[in-house]
Symmetry: C6
């Protein structure tokens, strides 16, 4: 798909890799924010495991908002929608976890997603990256789609080493154990050229704020 | 149906094209707004995929309200109802996506919908238009119904080229890759003659507004 | 049922016509309002399609409150209950649509319902009336029940013309294409003799009201 | 059950008559109020139809609160619980309708329920009483339980006339067409000896109250 | 279980008797309160009937808070959790009713539960105690567990009289017809040694309080 | 898994022991807090029993917040997410109870979890620890994973004594009857090196606070 990265100046669009009964496939994760009350909407016929994966990714971001420079008030004053086209194709499994967290981190920071990168890996709540299956099929699909760099869990390195080198010679692999390492690769430091301007209310002036 | 476009001075009524087991069919999407709190109601025996399609269309509009000149407060101060007659016929699938987004854009802007146009195509959250199936059957149905112009995804152009030219000689085709392009065709610049006057509260006066 | 119209000085009671496996039947729609927050309750073992029909009828009324002289605040300060006896009989389908909208319009305006009228027809969100099935059986049931006038969709006129004239000679038929036309026939101009006195809060005084 | 009416100084306890596969049975309806926000709780393994019957009864009372001298604020400041022992026995059907409405009217007015009365009949939202089945079996059960008076729909009179007079000679029958008539028989004019003292907030002082 | 009553200085822990396919069993009901908004949580794989039993017990307590000296504000300012170990064993039926109401009464009053007592019986909303089944098996289980006193419905007296006296010679039986009578036996007059100190907001100062 | 305890400076990560059809397994429980309104989210394909176990653990902590030095306002001003990787593996049963309560206690107190410890045991609402099954298989799994200390219910001591001493010679066992005893072992007295700084609102200044 030659226009896979044509939208690389839009925050929140990230390329994942899925494994289906008919082989590997490209899976785009789209995130968008609109003014609201912090509601999360998931669409694209996502199964239970994939929904939990998205919820876990969002909890991770909320708990690490400071590290990523995300103003905490955005979570409560904007609604997040995560959609995974194509809309009629059921999708499930935890392997889109790092793609989800990258998409959400991009939309909340308005930072650009590195172009020509694809990724696959489960995330846990504390930010560990876990290995996933179907690596060979996913890599072949990435190759066909013009992907140039792949982010994987370190524990999937052995799966790459088992693939015929001819198929991977044009690909650069990044191995990660944590979400921190994933985001260091997957997000560019600069924002998109027309970043969303967040409108945030002042915190209600409390008589006093205490730290427990 | 000779009175298909008799209501062309009402915002929110858009003609889609559906593909059923017995061939192509005209599918009208009706949107209406009433004062409320931003609740979305979907009716017409819509399946899961079609509901997600409507939710995705609405999120797209919310995230691009400025571009369309929609006052953001309308989303939170009016309830949106989208109905797809006939009420007893189950409907599903993502192909009504661009029809949904046109209907919603019309009702929120109160702009007129271009008469004698029908459309079919999936939308994604960032506003891409994806190709859909059943094109031949849909075109025949549009023809029978007096439609004069059709909006489709660019990737459906090949499906049109395979149709016997005799069937499409009276039709004008518009190919789109993005929702922007769809709306540029499907909406007229002027509002309906009796546009809804939105009653909107002032934003609560904040002690200060900050931009993150 | 000789006392079918004995309650004609109560707002919100309207006679519909249903089609069941054992023939046509009279179907009473009852609406009632009580002070609340705008909650809609539907009862009488209504199926999904009939529930959506009621919700669509209510959205239509909300969007056209001004035309009917309904104070918009009533929708948010009163709860609406629509019940369809008999309580143990499952009912479904869209054909009670115009009966629903008449019942609701009567209860919100406190206008009397025209006595000895029955009706059947689907409504859409913009207020179109669509044709329904089982017309012959419904007419026979209306006749037996002492109904004198029938409201139908114009597209059901052909179904009436196919009925043996002996069965319809005592009936007056009104054909409608829109909810406007239905209500012009089904509601009397005057209110019931003991109309509900609505207690409505003043709108919260806004610093300013803007129209978008 | 000799102590069936031993609690006749407690508001909200009313004797209904049910029809089960093994014959007629006494069915006690218990209502209780506690300070809250107007939540309705139904228990006793009630089926859908019986739940709707309870909801309809409550809507009737709310819409006719003035006629019964019920302060409207009670509905919003007290939670209502309706329980039908025995807790493990599934129950369904609309025939407990007038028993429900009597139980609720008693608890909201704190008026005593007439002792040695039992009743069966469906209610509609506008307060009509509809006939129900299983009359013979219900009457036999009432007789066995020491009931002295029975309230029924007028249209069930023929069912009573078909019963062997020996079985009904000790019973007085009251036939009703409306809830008004039912309550005139089933409730005594005086309150229970220790009536609940309702604690009600003043209505929020509005800048102005308008009547539409 | 020798430590069955080792926690007798903790409010809210009460011993019930259950009847399973493999005989009678001890069933502990645990209640706990934490600051909140009056939410009720039930756990321990409770079936529908047992859940309704708990809800009915709570409604009884709320309606009789004054009699038990419970400050009404506790219900709205504390969340109640009722758990029935073991967590993986499904439980159902109404016979834990009086155990539930004792457990809740203990936690809301912080009064001690009488040690070495077990109980079984259904409760109704007005506070009647109904007889339950499996009495013989339950008594044997109580005996084995070191229970010394049993609370039962008066109507279960005949079931006790049918048991071989050798099995019940060490047990004292209390027969009750009402929840009042149950609590008079099951709760001690004094509070636990470290009673929960309830933190309660002042009632919002109303301009005036009216009694209807 | 050599890096099982590499994250021992992160609060809320605790090692449990699970029993599956293919033997014992390590089960990590991850808890995280983010600013919110006290919502609990559970993920990792947890079954009903395991969810109730988590809810019971949280209620225990809330009721014993003072004993653990947890500021009560944290419960209402932070959302808690508990995740159990791997995300696609269904998990159920009550045996993760003490692992859940340790994980939650760690995240709310920000105290470190003792490294090289694993645990298994059901908790009840009052804080009792109940024995669980599959002990032998769980111990073998713990041994393989480099666990050095195990926390169990006292009633599981007999299961340990039946295991071949060769398999347990490198393990230290801690037997507990209460959650208090579990937490005394499982949590270290000091906080993690970068503890979460809780931002808490002052309690709304009440006109007066009363203790009932
Ligand atoms: Ca599933
Ligand atoms: Ca993926
Ligand atoms: Ca589906
Ligand atoms: Ca379409
Ligand atoms: Ca259906
Ligand atoms: Ca009808
Ligand atoms: Ca049902
Ligand atoms: Ca009854
Ligand atoms: Ca059940
Ligand atoms: Ca019991
Ligand atoms: Ca289950
Ligand atoms: Ca465990």
């Amino acid at each position: 798909d030659k226009d896979l990265y044509s939208d690389d100046d839009i925050a929140g669009i990230v390329t994942g890799l899925a494994w289906t009964q008919v082989g590997g496939e490209i899976l785009l994760i789209e995130s968008s924010l609109s003014r609201g009350k912090g509601v999360l909407t998931l669409s694209g016929q996502l199964g239970d495991v994939m929904k939990e994966s998205a919820i876990t990714a969002l909890s991770y971001l909320k708990a690490h908002a400071d590290d990523l420079g995300i103003d905490y008030r955005i979570f409560n004053n904007y609604d997040l929608h995560v959609h995974v086209p194509a809309g009629a194709v059921p999708k499930d499994g935890p392997s889109a976890g790092i793609t989800m967290v990258t998409s959400m981190a991009s939309i909340y920071t308005q930072r650009k997603v590195r172009p020509f990168v694809a990724m696959t890996g489960e995330v846990t709540l504390r930010g560990k990256v876990l290995p996933v299956g179907g690596i060979k099929e996913k890599i072949l699909a990435a190759n066909r789609a013009g992907v140039r760099e792949i982010i994987l869990c370190s524990k999937n390195r052995k799966d790459i080493e088992e693939i015929n080198p001819a198929y991977v010679k044009d690909l650069t692999f990044h191995y990660a154990d944590t979400v921190d390492q994933v985001l260091a690769i997957s997000l560019l430091p600069n924002q998109v050229s027309r970043p969303l301007k967040f409108i945030l209310p002042e915190e209600k002036p409390e008589p006093a704020m205490s730290q427990s």
